[in-house]
């Protein structure tokens, strides 16, 4: 059991530390992850923006060069004095010096270069590494209707064309056309355009370089939403972003497309349209003809580093946690070990081994102080148990002595009366119920001589052992001092003198005694401060026996007692008792009272002293149900059965006092 407990405490401590540390680690990891993720996203946006801008810058430079070439050439050719060969030479030089330019042409209005010459447009183009020249213009290729020619002519300004398939090479190109006019006359005297084309393939190469990660890519969108450059080459000039969005079931892409067409800048998370993966898309306006550039960054690759970092961090945390566990286990073991030892000692003490040696505390910490307190408790317990054992032994001895005392006291009282032949004339029944083991109540009866029967009831002040001793003395004195011919008052006077002679404790006895003349029924009685007995005569109401005055026995040695007389009829009953009867209380603190005693005796059997005693006792017990008996209870009933004839003998050797 004690091992289980020790492990329990260690496990509790360890788990607590683990749980706290684990929580801190997890929170840190989560915070780190989300914070870094944000940083990664922000960085990706910056990178994409930078890429986009640098590509745009590069393209802008190249375009500017093409524009410059065309713009420079335009006023030169406008002079109209150059030969075919010269014009060809200009174009060749320009194409040669500007590798980005795929082709150049100087296209004249009909009959402008030479009257009657409908088409005249010297054309120089790049084929592989060589530069070739040719002339544009035929029924098959009527350049006047082509946009690169028509729009600058209409708008009277130089501008870039939309991408278009070059009829000579099937390349997709954009063309910058600078119009030129009759020398000095300006607008209105349009003579033709100088055109410089740039292959979209070249643009594609530049855009393709704006790629982030292995599966990232970039694309260009025209202001109509058509893909200009895209890794999926067959889509170029062909596929609309709206259509792709519908095709890939990606309504988000449609919205992004619209924003790109509107020339907005943005960075959004979406599914990419090539690999259908979660990606981040940066888009920004591109400096050509309202184009927009999109850079797609696959999320998985974007966060690959983050994931790797998080894995490493988690591994480090886990290792740290494992280290913490071992430290926590070690510490809790160290803490719980002395507790366990103490616990073992406590268990031994609990089993009754008071002399078990407590573990020596290693330090002055709480456990040391606990051990110290425990040692004090152990000593106190030892002492207490020793005391308790002694006390218990003493108590048991006293209890056993009290039991013996009670048995002596009870045996001390007459139990069976009367011995034949007195039983023919008198029936006596009595009960004594002490409130404690022994009590101070007493009763007695015995035949004095052939005619006379003595009986008495008494009550020593107080209860318990002192009262019992005083009771024994009183009873012995009463019996010892009763002599033939003595009146009850004389007996009381003698007993009183004896008791009062040495009574510093001021113990006293209230008593009633009577001597019944069995031949005449005359009852002589005396009183020493006792409750009046009841006289029950068949056919009459119960009545209190009128008592002469007389003070307690044992207080003043000169107290005078009086004898009073009455005559009993056959079947008369005398009921004497102590105040334990009338002063018994019930749960409501009501006294049993004289009235209740009278109504009880009225309902009792009239022809039996024993029945009367039992009735009264039963009634008192029932009355004080549940309330501990406060005072000793004594009830004595005497029933006069009939006159004894003179000469009949009462005395037997055993019961005689003499």
């Amino acid at each position: 059991m004690f091992f289980r407990q020790r492990t329990g405490l260690a496990i509790k401590l360890t788990s607590l530390i683990m749980a706290s540390a684990g929580l801190i680690f997890i929170l840190t990891l989560l915070f780190n992850f989300f914070f870094l993720k944000k940083t990664y996203i922000a960085q990706a946006r910056e990178t994409a923006k930078f890429l986009s801008e640098s590509k745009a810058q590069k393209v802008r430079l190249i375009l500017a060069r093409a524009e410059g070439v065309a713009a420079t050439l335009a006023p030169i050719v406008a002079s109209g004095t150059h030969t075919k060969a010269e014009l060809n030479q200009f174009l060749k030089e320009a194409v040669k010096n500007n590798p980005e330019i795929s082709a150049m042409a100087v296209a004249f209005e009909p009959s402008t270069y030479k009257p009657g010459l409908h088409y005249f447009a010297p054309y120089v183009y790049r084929q592989g590494d060589t530069i070739k020249s040719s002339y544009l213009g035929s029924d098959w290729y009527n350049y006047f209707n082509w946009r690169w020619y028509e729009i600058p002519k209409d708008q009277n300004r130089a501008l870039w064309s939309e991408p278009y398939h070059e009829p000579t090479s099937e390349n997709i190109v954009i063309t910058y056309s600078a119009p030129f006019y009759k020398q000095g006359l300006g607008q209105g005297n349009f003579q033709g355009v100088v055109a410089a084309s740039i292959s979209l393939e070249w643009l594609q190469d530049i855009v393709a370089l704006a790629k982030i990660f292995d599966h990232g890519y970039a694309f260009l969108l025209s202001h109509h939403g058509i893909f200009i450059t895209v890794p999926q080459k067959e889509w170029s000039m062909n596929q609309n972003i709206n259509f792709v969005a519908t095709l890939t079931d990606n309504p988000e892409l449609k919205k992004i497309g619209q924003k790109m067409i509107d020339g907005e800048e943005g960075f959004v998370r979406t599914r990419d349209f090539l690999h259908n993966q979660d990606s981040w898309l940066y888009f920004a306006p591109f400096p050509v003809r309202g184009f927009s550039m999109g850079i797609v960054i696959p999320e998985q690759e974007l966060f690959a580093g983050l994931y790797r970092l998080s894995q490493h961090l988690s591994a480090i945390c886990l290792a740290g946690l494992l280290f913490l566990v071992s430290v926590a286990v070690l510490i809790s073991r160290k803490i719980t070990r002395p507790i366990s030892l103490l616990d073992r000692s406590a268990a031994a003490i609990a089993e009754g081994n008071m002399d078990v040696v407590l573990p020596k505390p290693a330090s002055g910490d709480e456990i040391g102080s606990l051990t110290h307190s425990f040692a004090e408790m152990q000593d106190a317990l030892k002492e207490y148990i020793a005391n308790l054992a002694a006390t218990t032994a003493a108590k048991e001895r006293i209890e056993s002595e009290l039991k013996i005392a009670r048995s002596i006291q009870m045996n001390f009282l007459p139990k069976k009366f009367p011995p034949l032949p007195a039983g023919e004339f008198v029936e006596i029944s009595a009960v004594l119920e002490p409130a404690r083991e022994v009590g101070g109540d007493l009763y007695d009866y015995f035949v004095v001589n052939d005619r006379h029967l003595f009986f008495m009831v008494g009550d020593v002040s107080d209860k318990g052992v002192p009262a019992a001793l005083f009771m024994a003395v009183t009873k012995t004195l009463l019996k010892g001092l009763t002599e033939v011919g003595l009146e009850p008052a004389q007996i009381f006077a003698k007993v009183n003198r004896e008791l009062a002679s040495e009574n510093d404790a001021m113990m006293f006895v209230t008593a009633f005694c009577g001597i019944l003349d069995l031949e005449t029924g005359e009852l002589a009685y005396s009183n020493a401060g006792h409750n009046p007995p009841l006289l029950l005569r068949p056919g009459e109401e119960p009545r209190w026996l009128p008592l002469p005055k007389g003070f307690f026995l044992g207080v003043f040695d000169q107290t005078v007692y009086q004898t009073q007389r009455t005559t009993l009829h056959p079947h008369d009953l005398i009921l004497a008792y102590t105040d334990g009867v009338v002063e018994a209380i019930d749960v409501h603190q009501n006294l049993y009272s004289n009235q209740r005693l009278i109504s009880t005796v009225k309902g009792a059997p009239a022809n039996s002293a024993e029945g009367l005693v039992k009735s009264v006792m039963t009634s008192v017990t029932a009355f004080s149900q549940g309330v501990p008996q406060a005072d000793d209870i004594t009830i004595l009933a005497l029933r006069f059965k009939g006159y004894k004839h003179h000469g009949q003998t009462l005395l037997t050797g055993k019961d005689s006092k003499f």
Partner: protein, 110 residues
């Protein structure tokens, strides 16, 4: 049981209330002993508030009376009623001690 004491000239009045039995009597004995130790010799015990007195109560009174007697003091009683009066009468206390109907009368005879 409660005990209230007042001093009327040279007489100490002990007004006792409640039950005077084996449980409460020691307190009365203790308290009256304390007054005796302070030199009180004349006492009136007003038992008007006592509704029950047991033999232990009577014994306490006897002890108190004997002490006062031994030192030339005196004790009187007043206000007895009901069960207490009955017990005083039956036991003979009435003929043994000066008993007065009221406190005024008890003090008047001092």
């Amino acid at each position: 049981m409660q005990i209230f004491t007042t001093k009327e000239k040279d007489t100490l009045v002990l007004e006792v209330k409640g039950r005077l039995d084996a449980v409460t009597s020691p307190k009365l004995e203790e308290e009256s002993q304390a007054w005796i130790d302070q030199g009180e010799k004349a006492m009136v015990m007003d038992l008007g508030g006592v509704d029950y007195i047991s033999s232990a109560g009577l014994r306490t009174i006897l002890i108190l009376a004997r002490k006062l007697n031994g030192m030339g003091g005196k004790i009187r009683f007043c206000g007895l009623k009901g069960m207490v009066q009955e017990v005083f009468s039956i036991s003979g206390f009435t003929s043994l001690f000066p008993v007065f109907p009221s406190l005024t009368e008890a003090l008047g005879h001092s």
